[in-house]
Amino acid sequence: MNTAILAVDDDIMVLNSLRIQLERKFGNDYVLEFAQNVEEAIGVIQDLKSDLIDLIVIISDWIMPGKNGDALAQYVKQLNPAIKVVVLSGQLQEAVALQMIESKEIDSIVSKPWSEDHLIGIIEQAIISKHL
């Protein structure tokens, strides 16, 4: 239990749904953290760091009040490029997303509405690639 997954979305209902899914799949092995905006997320990341908990995946919404997902991705990648960033967005266009994946700004993209299996698969993939 020294590894964590962080989910960030301004919509609490999205977070609640995500929480149930993540809890079911990763609740036993990972610390699950949730935040509703980028500032809060950064705070959580710093707390985890000071608690010596290793953050491996961030699932983040793209457009949020205040700072957007890109700011978070930038922060995280600067902190540790190994942390995987999965964008869960209802808006980000595919072309833009692919470009960002190519430039390693983010690691993968999941569109809203998402399928649980797909999302879990992506997260598992991210965890595996992180361990590689």
């Binding site: 239990m1 301004d10 919509d11 609490i12 209902m13 999205v14 977070l15 609640n16 749904s17 995500l18 149930i20 899914q21 079911r24 609740g27 610390v31 953290e33 949730f34 935040a35 509703q36 809060e40 959580v44 919404d61 457009i63 949020m64 009040p65 205040g66 957007n68 869960l88 967005s89 209802g90 808006q91 266009q93 569109s111 809203k112 509405p113 998402w114 399928s115 649980e116």
Partner: protein, 861 residues
């Protein structure tokens, strides 16, 4: 004092001067006269003395008594006035023998010669042969002294009298001037309003002045009394005056209006006094008559009459005016330049307030045109009648002519040789041309040489189907003929008359060509009109399409954001659905199947303590932290964390002993998990409901926005809701760093085009967000000003540059990159608002950009 000095200078002084002058003249003239009288008198006296002396000398000589002579001479010389007495004795040679002169200081010759100094009388005598001469001389100086001696008292007397008169006059002047001066001063005081001045009585002694004074007293008292009366009256008069002046002002006002009307009217207005002398005319009258006001003043309106004017009408007008009756008439007048014009004139006698007749007011309208038309009509009617008579005559002539022509034609029929048109006869039973006249020969050649069939072909005549009395046209050699055929001799003979109508046909052809052209032109015009109408219709459609497209373009820009707004709740719903399935199958059914009944009971009891909380993630973290502390009795950190998280998720923030006891159970994990799963299912259901609502809200907003029907009927709509819809659609954009405050009250209802208005708000908000790179504060404020809804949409984004702020509402004006905007947004915004009778304006500075939209509360198209 003024009066007194003027009396002295004007009366006393000249009078004194005259007296002094008179005395002067007397003093000059009187002594001379006296001297003359005296010298005459002395001359006579000394002449007499000389005679006496001469006689005395003669006597003395005769007696030879010289002694007495001597004494006589002495006596004479001592006579007062005589200066010199002398006696001369002369011999025959006229030589002085003896000379006695008293006094002896002078001699005879000196005295005789000095006529200036002496007045001398001389007598000759002759006694006893002794000739002699006596003379007596008086000194003129002495004589003058005598005269002076006589005159002095006279002058003294005169001077005395003059002085007395002057003094008298002085006093008299004083006596007169003093009272007058007093009266004058008194009058001056009175005139200054000082009615209480009194005249001191002791100034005057004269009875008359006393009376004058008394009269003045009475006058002063009367004046004082009247003054008081006047004061009383004045108050009344002032009131009266006020009322009158107000009335006067009203009257003047009315008069001004009237005079304005009189001045401005296109009718001529003429005002005369009671003697019909013109006092005033307006500009129109000057224009009409050609005379200026200056020329007309004092003249009578007779000046306007033309020699052709109807004299009976003028007499009638004059008669009515003498009776002071209003007059209406129509007259022919003559202008200054000789131009004749008809006027319809209306004369009204004018009366002042006392009912006295003061003059006449004439209003004249130029009816020349109408009158001319009337006259013209009369002329036309006359001409028409004449024409009718003429036509009748012509008809009669025509009838006669027709008769003659008929006769002529029948004669032509009888004598076809002379007919200028072709005439022929066909012998049908023998199939030959029986006859043709010279005109036919000239046209068709020798008809005997061609066959009947050939000729019939020319004539377009079908012998098997002969239609008589039918005019048929045919062409031959470029000429057009009209044929008329008759059957004679029981159908054996056909007679034909041909009429050359080439020229008529040509004219007809040209006419029909023209008509065709006209018709074509008309058709073209119709076609073009239709085309134009269609273009206009297309343009209208295009315009509405542009507006729709602009709406769609705005929508397109927003669509990504809207997708997010829909996808987000959709994501929650989908996830919740999947979650519920797992939770129900694995989380509940599987768990229950493997649980003991006691544990199940505990789990349900625990579930009953749960509550649905809406915590933010940060709150949750805080409660989780606290819960971890509360669960200190659990050693396993992972389990502690899990339990804490489950409890917080269930909304059990302060675990009671019952809960603690559950946690202490060996199967606590399953018991907690089951309760939690119940909660999570409930939460998923809630999430599904809430997300559906959120999604449908967005879809509804999108629907009302995108569905916008341009030809929609106006309807009532709630302003706040209308704006909220837009904010919902744009929420995804707004939330990226902007803040919108909607201060529109809940109860503002508008009547207009709600769909189009949402386009307006979208545009304004979208522009603000774009200009500020999605980071600004936007506020909607509402006021009600003078029957208008006033909505102010402000943002603190960048200033709209001053050089373009005037153009932002113009079509195709855009600051955005090519393809990003249509440049029609704000233009359409303005059109939409103006369509509803409203206005839009914009103010922008470095702090604030404010769009002000007004919409009439009562909107009527």
């Amino acid at each position: 004092m003024r009066l007194r000095s003027s009396i002295f200078t004007q009366v006393w002084l000249p009078y004194s001067i005259i007296i002094v002058l008179l005395i002067g003249i007397l003093a000059f003239y009187y002594p001379n006269k006296q001297r003359q009288i005296l010298s005459e008198y002395k001359r006579n006296e000394i002449n007499q003395l000389a005679s006496t002396l001469s006689n005395s000398v003669e006597l003395s000589l005769a007696k030879d008594d010289f002694g007495s002579l001597q004494s006589t001479m002495q006596m004479v010389s001592k006579t007062d006035q005589l200066s010199v007495v002398g006696l001369l004795l002369i011999d025959g040679n006229n030589k002085t023998v003896s000379e006695v002169v008293i006094p002896d200081t002078v001699n005879y010759n000196q005295v005789i010669a000095d006529t200036l100094r002496y007045l001398t009388s001389e007598k000759s005598f002759s006694v006893n042969g002794v000739n002699g001469r006596v003379f007596i001389s008086i000194s003129k100086a002495k004589m003058n002294a005598d005269v002076s001696n006589i005159n002095r008292p006279i002058f003294l007397f005169l001077t005395l009298i003059a002085a007395v008169i002057m003094i008298l006059v002085y006093f008299l002047a004083n006596m007169i001037s003093n009272p007058i001066t007093r009266v004058q001063e008194f009058a001056e005081s009175l005139s200054k309003g000082n009615y209480n001045v009194k005249i001191a009585k002791d100034y005057y002694q004269a009875k008359e002045l006393d009376q004058l004074q008394i009269s003045l007293y009475i006058l002063a008292e009367t004046l004082d009394f009247q003054r008081n009366e006047n004061e009383k009256l004045t108050h009344g008069l002032e009131e009266e005056l006020k009322i009158r002046s107000e009335k006067l002002l009203q009257a003047m006002d009315e008069l001004n209006k009237l005079s304005l009307v009189a001045k401005k009217t296109s009718n001529a207005v003429i005002i005369t006094d009671q003697d019909k002398k013109i006092q005033w005319v307006n500009q129109s009258a000057e224009d009409l008559t050609g005379y200026s006001l200056e020329e007309l003043i004092g003249k009578t309106p007779g000046i306007f009459q033309s020699p052709k004017s109807n004299q009976a009408e003028i007499a009638r007008i004059g008669h009515l005016l003498r009776l002071k009756e209003p007059v209406w008439a129509e007259l022919l007048n003559q202008a200054k330049d000789g131009r004749e014009y008809w006027v319809s004139l209306n004369i009204v006698p004018m009366k002042n307030d006392f009912g006295e007749h003061t003059g006449f007011l004439a209003v004249e309208t130029d009816v020349t045109e109408r009158k001319n038309l009337e006259l013209q009509r009369e002329v036309y009617v006359k001409q028409l009648e004449e024409s009718r008579a003429e036509i009748n005559a012509i008809n009669a002539g025509l009838e006669q002519m027709v008769e003659e022509k008929t006769k002529h034609i029948s004669s032509l029929a009888l004598f076809p040789e002379q007919n200028p048109n072709p005439v022929f006869e066909l012998q049908l039973d023998e199939s030959m041309v029986r006859y043709f006249n010279p005109a036919a020969g000239a046209t068709f050649g020798d008809l005997t040489t061609i066959s009947l069939q050939a000729f019939c072909q020319i004539l377009q005549l079908d012998l098997l189907n002969i239609q008589v009395n039918e005019r048929v046209e045919f062409e031959y050699n470029g000429l057009v003929f009209e044929r008329n055929i008759f059957l004679l001799e029981n159908g054996k003979v056909l007679r034909g008359y041909l009429h050359n109508i080439t020229l008529r046909k040509q004219n007809e052809k040209e006419l029909s060509k023209l008509i065709d052209q006209l018709r074509t032109a008309e058709q073209d015009l119709t076609v073009k009109t239709v085309e134009l109408e269609r273009s206009l219709e297309e343009l209208k459609i295009a315009q509405s399409e542009i507006i729709s497209k602009e709406r769609l373009s705005t929508l397109g820009m927003l669509i990504a954001g809207i997708a997010h707004e829909i996808n987000t709740p959709l994501g929650s719903i989908k996830a919740s659905g999947e979650n519920m399935k797992h939770l129900f199958n694995d989380g509940i059914m599987t768990l229950i199947a493997n649980m003991k009944m006691e544990d199940l009971k505990l789990s349900i009891q625990l579930y009953q303590q749960t509550q649905m909380l809406h915590l933010s993630t940060s709150e949750e973290r805080e409660y989780l932290q606290r819960m971890m502390e509360r669960l200190a009795m659990i050693d396993d950190v992972a389990m502690k964390r899990r339990f804490a998280r489950s409890l917080v998720q269930m909304g059990i923030l302060t675990p009671n002993p019952e809960v603690i006891s559950v946690i202490s159970q060996p199967n606590a994990q399953e018991i907690l998990q089951l309760s939690l799963n119940f909660v999570l299912i409930q939460r998923s259901i809630n999430t599904t409901t809430a997300s559906s609502e959120q999604g449908s809200k967005v879809v509804k907003a999108l629907n009302s926005f995108a569905h916008g029907n341009l030809n929609a009927q106006k309807s009532h709509f709630n302003l706040r809701e209308n704006i909220e819809t837009v904010l919902t659609i744009m929420w995804n954009k707004i939330k990226q760093g902007s803040h919108v405050v909607n201060n529109i009250p809940d109860d503002v209802n508008c009547f207009g085009l709600p769909d189009e208005m949402s386009q307006v708000w979208t545009n304004l908000v979208n522009n603000a967000l774009q200009a500020a790179n999605n980071k600004c504060n936007i506020s909607f404020e509402y006021h009600q000003i003078q029957g208008n809804h006033v909505i102010e949409i402000s943002n603190n984004g960048p200033q709209i540059p001053e050089d373009i702020i005037d153009k932002i509402f113009e079509p195709f004006f855009t600051t955005k990159a090519r393809g990003e905007g249509t440049g029609l947004g704000l233009n359409i915004v303005r059109k939409i608002i103006e369509k509803q009778g409203g206005t839009i304006s914009c103010l922008s500075d470095t702090h604030l950009t404010k769009f002000t939209v007004t919409l009439p509360i009562k909107f009527e198209e």
